[in-house]
């Protein structure tokens, strides 16, 4: 690089004062070097990540493996309370996954099917629209991200999300290592020493494993589920007509939760 480190800090400091983002600092610092030092300049621009879950293949084992893979990697505690519950991916029945859709004559396999719900990473996300600090926003690749460093805990996003995909840290999540009744349920918490926990007072949710995607890996729920039932989960880029998820959606009938609200969910349920 044609610039010394002291100059980097000066530029970085100055650009912070001027309110420029981090990327701007890099651009001033070394135009062209940006791509070399990162593997995602404007992460996944043009992509539209989506997930398809085959309701026929989802069983208890798929559910427990997918949920625990996710929750252990992301250090999601078990707070043993429906009110304070934090969940990134969870099981739900047909009636409550698709409220208003059920009727008394719905087929038995659907009536008793189990669905795995997670953030829909909507293409038109109301949560991002309402956030007063841009603590939640949509990336160029469609992933709805959450910046826990910036969240003020106003919970407007939770009121705006029609899917109940967002959880709030009503208390310190790390209390599961201190409160005797919770310790047993959370042996080894935080499970993943390379991933942070959250602090009290911030909202959290599924990130489509953005940290793994950027390393070229796949979301953990999918990897875990497919180990149990091959093909139960498909993840891919909807903007690519040749992607496996697109060809799957061409072949199979799919449902999306509350599509009529116009948020354009990107999680599909194959029936």
């Amino acid at each position: 690089m044609g610039i010394d480190r002291r100059a980097f800090l000066k530029i970085a400091g100055l650009s912070t004062i001027l309110g420029l983002g981090g990327k701007a600092a890099f651009d001033i610092l070394a135009p062209g070097e940006l791509e070399a030092s990162t593997n995602a300049a404007s992460p996944g621009a043009g992509k539209r990540w989506a997930m398809a879950i085959d309701a026929r293949l989802v069983d208890d084992k798929v559910i427990s493996e997918a949920t625990s893979a996710c929750h252990r990697h992301h250090n999601v505690p078990d707070l043993d309370s429906a009110k304070e519950e934090i969940k990134w991916i969870w099981e739900e029945d047909y009636e409550h996954s698709f409220p208003g859709h059920q009727h008394e004559f719905v087929s038995d396999d659907i009536k008793h099917a189990k669905f795995l719900l997670l953030c829909n990473h909507c293409s038109n996300p109301p949560c991002c629209r309402v956030c007063p600090t841009k603590a939640t926003w949509q990336r160029a690749d469609g992933i709805v991200m959450m910046d826990p460093h910036r969240c003020i805990g106003c919970r407007f996003c939770m009121a705006a999300c029609p899917f109940g995909a967002r959880s709030f840290n009503w208390g310190d999540p790390r209390r599961v290592t201190r409160v005797p009744e919770l310790v047993a349920k959370n042996q080894g918490f935080p499970y993943n020493k390379d991933y942070p926990t959250r602090a009290k007072g911030v909202v959290e949710k599924c990130t489509f494993c953005v940290d793994l995607l950027e390393k070229g890996e796949q979301p953990l729920c999918m990897t875990a589920a497919n180990k149990v039932k091959k093909g139960s989960f498909t993840f891919g880029d909807l903007s690519d007509p040749e992607s496996p998820i697109r060809s799957l959606l061409r072949k199979r009938y799919s449902l999306r939760r509350k599509f009529e609200l116009g948020t354009n969910p990107n999680v599909f349920y194959l029936i």
């Binding site: 690089m1 010394d4 480190r5 002291r6 980097f8 800090l9 970085a12 400091g13 912070t16 983002g21 981090g22 990327k23 600092a25 890099f26 070097e33 940006l34 070399a36 030092s37 990162t38 593997n39 995602a40 300049a41 404007s42 992460p43 996944g44 926003w137 990336r139 991200m145 910046d147 826990p148 460093h149 935080p190 020493k193 390379d194 991933y195 942070p196 926990t197 959250r198 602090a199 953005v210 940290d211 950027e214 390393k215």
Partner: protein, 128 residues
């Protein structure tokens, strides 16, 4: 001036209270803590920036990192010598500086700053 005596007495008491921490601590300057490096950090020789810059501005760098990683998805950093680093306090920084108590806390306590990094990020386990 009405009630001049009361006002002056009040001022003296007020200023006295304000200054009390200075009087209390006078002549007891705390010694600046020494930087303690782990074996791994000593062997690495190079940090992200040079030592003076790291001491003075590590928090700016970390702020820059968290912003570019979380918000822009830029997860790698190219060091002056060309080495590429994974931008992570928890994974990269604390790998070498696994002695948080001596490396981070000691100086932060001395400077009376309480960064909230560790509310979320997991500190390495340290042998007491």
């Amino acid at each position: 001036m009405y009630d001049g005596g009361k006002i002056i007495a009040g001022l003296i008491i007020g200023i006295g209270l304000l200054m009390s921490p200075f009087f209390y601590n006078a002549g007891k300057a705390a010694k600046a803590p020494e930087r303690v490096l782990t074996e791994k950090a000593k062997q690495a020789k190079e940090c992200i920036l040079d030592k003076a810059q790291m001491t003075a501005s590590h928090f700016k760098l970390l702020d820059e990192w968290r912003h570019t990683v979380v918000r822009d998805g830029q997860r790698y950093y190219k060091r002056a010598d060309g080495k590429v680093l994974y931008k992570s306090l928890q994974v990269t920084c604390m790998d070498c500086h696994s002695n948080k108590a001596n490396f981070c806390d000691q100086c932060h306590n001395y400077m009376a700053v309480t960064p909230y990094c560790w509310d979320c990020h997991i500190a390495p386990e340290e042998k007491k």
